[in-house]
């Protein structure tokens, strides 16, 4: 397993390298609505937010992630783990080095053998899919869990036509006697 260098040890910006690996050009990034990322006058926090948005786009495979949610997710992950920024930047470098082109290939790439890197990748994907960061306590009120989003959690998107996001309603009483319309294809 190679040692992946920290981002600062590389000459080219992680973002530009990442765009190349992810098959995106600066133009497509602009088209995707992330043009402000390219501004050179950003402060460090904004640059980290940009990097996090990029790795989130790559790891989730979703090109329409909300920038505001992305910043919330980063804040939550950092609050749960003070070293999170360094960890995700290291993962970003590793993805570049290993030239992983799709998130589904991560676990079978050399990165998949590195528990720390995979834990970071899972933390990012969990934040987007589950809507929280950290480990929520079930029988206690003290934990390091941080809320990000509920209705925006990506785990609900694949089933939106079939089941509710709990606490929201669908249809009329007893609609559930029938299966979803998709049942034959499911």
């Amino acid at each position: 397993m190679p040692e992946y260098p920290k981002p600062s040890e590389k000459s080219e910006s992680p973002r530009r390298q990442f765009l190349k690996i992810a098959g995106l050009s600066a133009g497509s990034a602009i088209a995707a609505g992330s043009a402000p990322l390219l501004a050179e006058s950003k402060n460090d926090d904004e640059r980290v937010q940009d990097q996090f948005y990029q790795i989130s786009t790559f790891l989730t495979g979703h090109s329409d992630l909300d920038r505001g949610l992305s910043n919330r997710a980063l804040a939550a992950l950092t609050a749960a783990d003070a070293n999170f920024t360094t960890k995700f930047q290291t993962l970003q470098q590793a993805i570049l080095t290993e030239k992983v082109s799709d998130p589904s290939l991560l676990r079978t790439s050399p990165i998949g053998q590195n528990e720390d890197l995979m834990a970071t990748a899972k933390a990012v994907v969990s934040a987007w899919y589950l809507g929280y960061a950290g480990e929520p306590a079930i029988h206690a009120m003290e934990d390091n869990a941080h809320f990000i989003t509920y209705s925006g959690a990506l785990m609900y998107r694949p089933t939106m036509d079939a089941t509710v996001i709990p606490s929201y309603a669908r249809g009329a009483p007893s609609y559930w006697v029938n299966p979803p319309a998709s049942i034959k294809q499911d």
């Binding site: 989730t60 495979g61 589904s104 899972k122 969990s126 589950l130 206690a140 009120m141």
Partner: protein, 528 residues
């Protein structure tokens, strides 16, 4: 002597409020004391939606230092082999804010456990004594159900016997239950529809019909599911006075062994005293014995706080070989009840399987992400697995044992300076003896659905059904209350709590607790 009220009810949960309402309705003056505050449903719903702890059922509720929930740091200390940690709330309405509304009656045999099966204890009253009050309790909280099923699982008809039909018919059987019944019924599994305290296809008592928001725990966002706040409102409207942030800490004995006064502490730490002719302690299955022990009352039997029971549970999750779509409807739709009763209870505990019907995306996504499945594959697998997810949890019968016990903590205190709780609980051998039988049954059920087992829980779980802690019986030497829920030691003291239940069965005891509470109110109303 002048009294502040005819009856003081300590605790504004479902049981206390139903008793308070019945008494106020009959013209009695009633004061209800509640340790917590009253907060509106919409705030609890918003707290839930914006919390990272979606599986922590206490989390959306107030957890004030002066009215801590059971999950507050250090509030419950466990000294036994099992961590007994029920989700107790302190607010107007009590813990039925998050109970999923399963509104079962006990079986006649549950109440004759010792006579029929030679284990545990009999109730001092029979099913027939309680039956009219079951009807009233079902009407009070609006239960929908099917009266044409054998809820005992023994292949009879219409059991247990009822003098009235359910106030509302059950809702339509959901697709998942129908499919599982089609396949598992052939293997001999007997299904029953969960009787449920929620309106089905029409409003009831100001509550809307269930729309399948699938969030009974931790909060029904539309107030369809019954919770104790309903009867707090009814009681107040009928004339009862409700005092919030008023934590009772002492019952004072007067002449003739009667309870004469209750002392309570408000959130500012100020102590007040109220007098009444009768007292109902309805302060939760653990807090009720705590108050009695702190007050040194009602304990000539030395059984206050002893004999605590739960329905200890196990669970299995598997992926069926066909899409079933758990999550459409309420979170509890159906049960498998074959082992709810029978001669096996001579040797090992009765049990009941609940077929969970929660939207499973959270556990499904957590599992897949943990496997490193990302991107488009993750989305596809979430849909595939969520459609096939089956979550069965089981409740087991337990037996009363004096060594299973709750006491006021000898040293720790809460912000009001009142003792926290110390619990000692070991799962009874009778219950342990049923574990392998149920685990084998899980395999058979999973195989019947050609399922891929995802997770089997062989560690005992909490089911928050507190019983036995102020046990009911015929004999004052081994019981705290008689069949009326009246203290053997104090004629004017009644306990409205599932803690009186002496034989646990395998069903949620809340409906039984409400039936007993309405009965208490009738008894007191005749005497006051």
């Amino acid at each position: 002597m002048e009294y502040d009220a005819d009856v003081i009810v300590i605790g504004s949960g479902a049981l206390g409020n139903n008793a308070a309402y019945e008494l106020a309705k009959q013209g009695k003056s009633v004061i209800i004391l509640e340790a917590g505050k009253s907060i509106p449903r919409w705030k609890i719903t918003e707290n839930f939606r914006t919390s990272p702890r979606k599986n922590n059922y206490n989390d959306p509720y107030p957890n004030a230092a002066t009215a801590p929930t059971s999950f507050a740091k250090d509030y419950i200390e466990n000294t036994g082999s099992f961590a007994y940690l029920p989700g107790m709330l302190k607010l107007v309405g009590g813990t039925t804010w998050h109970w999923a509304a399963c509104a079962w009656r006990y079986l006649p045999s549950d109440m004759k456990l010792k006579s029929l099966y030679g284990v545990g204890r009999d109730w001092p009253i029979s099913y027939d004594d309680l039956e009219p009050y079951y009807c009233r309790a079902e009407e009070a909280i609006g239960v929908s159900g099917r009266s044409d099923e054998d809820q005992s699982g023994q292949g009879k008809k219409n059991f247990p016997p009822r003098s009235k039909d359910y106030p509302m018919p059950s809702d339509g059987i959901n697709y998942m239950t129908n499919r599982m019944h089609d396949r598992l019924g052939k293997l001999g599994y007997r299904f029953v529809q969960e009787p449920s305290a929620r309106p089905t296809n029409q409003p009831y008592d100001g509550r809307p019909a269930c729309s399948g928001n699938n969030n009974c725990m931790p909060v029904c966002p539309i107030g369809s599911m019954y919770s104790g706040d309903v009867h707090a409102r009814h009681a107040v409207k009928a004339g009862a006075k409700l005092l919030t942030e008023a934590t009772a800490f002492k019952l004072e004995k007067g002449s003739g062994n009667k309870i004469e006064a209750v002392h309570y502490r408000n959130a500012n730490g100020e102590d007040k005293k109220l007098t009444a002719r009768y007292f109902i302690v309805a302060a939760h299955g653990f807090e009720t014995p705590k108050l009695l022990l702190m007050s040194d009352v009602a304990n000539s039997s030395d059984q206050v706080g002893r004999n605590i029971m739960d329905h200890n549970g196990l669970a299995i999750q598997f992926l069926a070989d066909e899409p079933l779509w758990s999550g459409r409807g309420t979170v509890e739709e159906a049960c498998i009840v074959n082992m709810r009763d029978g001669q096996h209870r001579r040797r090992y505990a009765a049990s009941k399987h609940n077929i969970g019907n929660s939207v499973p995306n959270m556990p499904v996504a957590q599992r897949l992400i943990a496997q490193g499945i990302f991107g488009k594959e993750l989305d596809e697998r979430i849909r595939h697995d969520a459609a096939r997810w089956v979550d069965i949890s089981s409740m087991f019968e337990t037996l009363p044992s004096p060594s299973n016990r709750v006491i006021p903590h000898p040293t720790k205190k809460d912000a009001l300076g009142l003792p926290t709780l110390s619990i000692h609980y070991d799962v009874p051998a009778y219950t342990e003896a049923a574990k392998d039988i149920v685990l084998r049954d899980y395999r058979r059920i999973a195989a019947g659905m050609k399922g891929e087992i995802v997770n089997e829980t062989s560690e005992w779980q909490n089911h928050d059904h507190i019983m036995g802690s102020v046990i009911m019986g015929k004999n004052p030497a081994d019981s705290v209350v008689n069949g009326e829920c009246r203290s053997f030691d104090h004629h004017n003291l009644f306990l409205a709590t599932t803690g009186v239940i002496p034989a646990a069965g395998v069903v949620n005891p809340t409906l039984t607790g409400i039936a007993l509470s309405i009965r208490i109110a009738d008894i007191i109303a005749r005497e006051v």
